[in-house]
Symmetry: D2
Subunit: 103 residues, 4 copies
Amino acid sequence: MVLLEMSIVPLGQGESVSRYVAQCVEIVDRSGLPYELHAMGTIVEGELAQVLDLMRECIETVAKSSNRVSCTAKIDYRQGVSGGIQAKVASVRAKLGQKPPAN
Amino acid sequence: MVLLEMSIVPLGQGESVSRYVAQCVEIVDRSGLPYELHAMGTIVEGELAQVLDLMRECIETVAKSSNRVSCTAKIDYRQGVSGGIQAKVASVRAKLGQKPPAN
Amino acid sequence: MVLLEMSIVPLGQGESVSRYVAQCVEIVDRSGLPYELHAMGTIVEGELAQVLDLMRECIETVAKSSNRVSCTAKIDYRQGVSGGIQAKVASVRAKLGQKPPAN
Amino acid sequence: MVLLEMSIVPLGQGESVSRYVAQCVEIVDRSGLPYELHAMGTIVEGELAQVLDLMRECIETVAKSSNRVSCTAKIDYRQGVSGGIQAKVASVRAKLGQKPPAN
């Protein structure tokens, strides 16, 4: 299992960046890999090469409309595990005695 | 609005860290501030001093059972905005023509 | 020992951010704590409360001239160690069989 | 110019990670790309595909001796600029009225 969380923003294109985040989510969505959008980034699960290629495509896409692009990324590379986007949260909730959400 | 996303893990306490993440989520939950747990960190919204104090308490709590603690954090400090945990995602979904989830 | 690496940039104030980085380095320099500026951030060593207060002062200073400020931070909290800014690099160099630089 | 700052650590292999950092620095050194090791990560400059491939090789190398590997990365993608590892620091020093270091 490789989880990549990425946040990609242009510098010099104004205060609001949701338009650029939407561009990246579209690329991730088209990939067919499981992903989750949240307020501070987008988490995607796949093979290491897959998720890094996705990040590269997102950066290069945003760079078409912005000379400077800043990206932060976190990778959780764990062998023998999958479905990490839900499993990691469920594991913490279980330790807190919380049932997983209905969905 | 200040959104802080933090991820705090001990080094040297084994491969699984969900026990420590649960400790931190309990601290954040007790604070009463709006927050969201996801697979790569916990996002909390509040005043800058509040969220930094929370992060400090979490690090010091994990450090009670681990000599070395690693923390990564991202802060989105935006004046004149609130409810960012949902609002930022809704803003991106709207640009993707997606309706916000039912909850 | 606590090492904090921080990178603080305004969103919406143009592509070049070195002016804002300089503001932050001045604040860190005035603190008297050991620090090092590099191309992707500034590393400062101190007590956890000290370095978090510094980060807060830097964010609030940049926020005086920018409505939105983005900050990324990494913290290495290790008990019983100090002088980490040089010691960590020296430890890696030793494993590579490299002598530490002359300064 | 693309600057990638990466920090790659194994989870579950003890508190000291300098051995693994040294493995990554060797890989980066062999690449021939300009780089700089500091206390919180390693900065390397190159084309986006080059630096992402290097990061992938480093993660996969550390993963040979650790089932779980955590990586944080920051990318500064700026078109029309090069030599960023020194230039960015020099630009900030100039704004602080400081002369660049002798080397």
